[in-house]
């Protein structure tokens, strides 16, 4: 099995606010360069239930499917099938846990797996992913502050 990508970080807010920010206000913070349309003003919608769609709606009303909700468990977490900019048959799986920490802080653990389905990238992924993801965020936090 190909190891999932894992990333985790802490945010200084309670889990319910973190969950709501992730699912109801993704339009405000999701990097526009990682949408399908790359359009400013695109709306990102998580339909709040298992089987709900995740999609992007441009200001012109065009919609692009990103995935479907599998598990909906506010404020503890959610999981979804993820096929942004690809065929739903090539969906990978994203699981996000919002873990309550002392001091009104939330630890967010993201696991992005299901790579076995994608034969082409699989072996390189398996070999390269041992280092894990925890080192990814700090340099970016630095960049975002500067």
């Amino acid at each position: 099995m190909i190891e999932p990508l894992r990333i985790s970080f802490e945010v200084a807010c309670p889990p319910d606010h973190a969950f709501e920010t992730w699912t109801e206000r993704a339009s405000a913070w999701w990097p526009p360069q990682h949408t399908v349309s790359h359009q400013p003003g695109a709306e990102i919608v998580f339909e709040p239930r298992p089987g709900g769609r995740i999609f992007e709606r441009t200001p012109q009303g065009e919609e692009f499917e990103w995935g479907e909700i599998v598990r909906w468990d506010p404020p503890r977490g959610l999981s979804y099938r993820w096929h942004i900019a690809t065929d739903p048959a090539n969906a990978t799986e994203v699981e996000i846990v919002f873990r309550e920490m002392p001091g009104s802080t939330t630890r967010i653990e993201i696991e992005h797996g299901g790579w076995d389905r994608l034969g082409e990238i699989g072996q390189a992924w398996r070999d390269a992913n041992r280092a894990g993801w925890d080192g990814v965020l700090p340099p970016y936090a630095e960049a975002a502050r500067s």
Partner: protein, 129 residues
């Protein structure tokens, strides 16, 4: 696509949004130029030019399969794509963190720190002043 002159750093090649899009598409499965052009808002010749850059960076190779020429990620390219995807999630994480920590829940204590711009702004919107 025959010239194998290498660009120093694959990440220079990934400095372009459409080339990153192409790498994301190829990370899923091999594509023809037409299949790529169908999924991106750029022309076939533009796709070919981007593929040429990606090829010189050692990210992408091509092969003739029947009547079609298919482009796929090279093995080292797959590693570059993996790192790229890690960056995507890192970028997502930072923007989420900045936003979550600087807004208040909607249902209670909607204060002056509540951000009102809830639609995607430009790519530089997360930067400080």
């Amino acid at each position: 696509m025959k010239a194998k002159r290498r660009i120093a750093d694959p990440f220079d090649a990934l400095g372009n949004q459409y080339r990153r899009d192409i790498v994301e598409l190829l990370a899923r499965k091999p594509h023809s130029v037409q299949e790529i052009a169908d999924q991106l808002p750029i022309s076939r010749p533009a796709v070919s030019r981007h593929l040429s850059v990606l090829n010189r960076a050692g990210l992408v190779s091509d092969e003739q399969v029947g009547a079609r020429r298919l482009y796929r990620l090279d093995e080292p390219g797959a590693e570059a794509a993996r790192r790229y995807l890690a960056q995507v999630w890192g970028n997502v994480g930072v923007r989420f963190k900045l936003f979550a920590e600087n807004t208040r829940p909607r249902k209670r204590s909607r204060g002056p720190r509540e951000l009102t711009a809830l639609r995607t702004a430009g790519p530089r919107s997360s930067r400080g002043s």
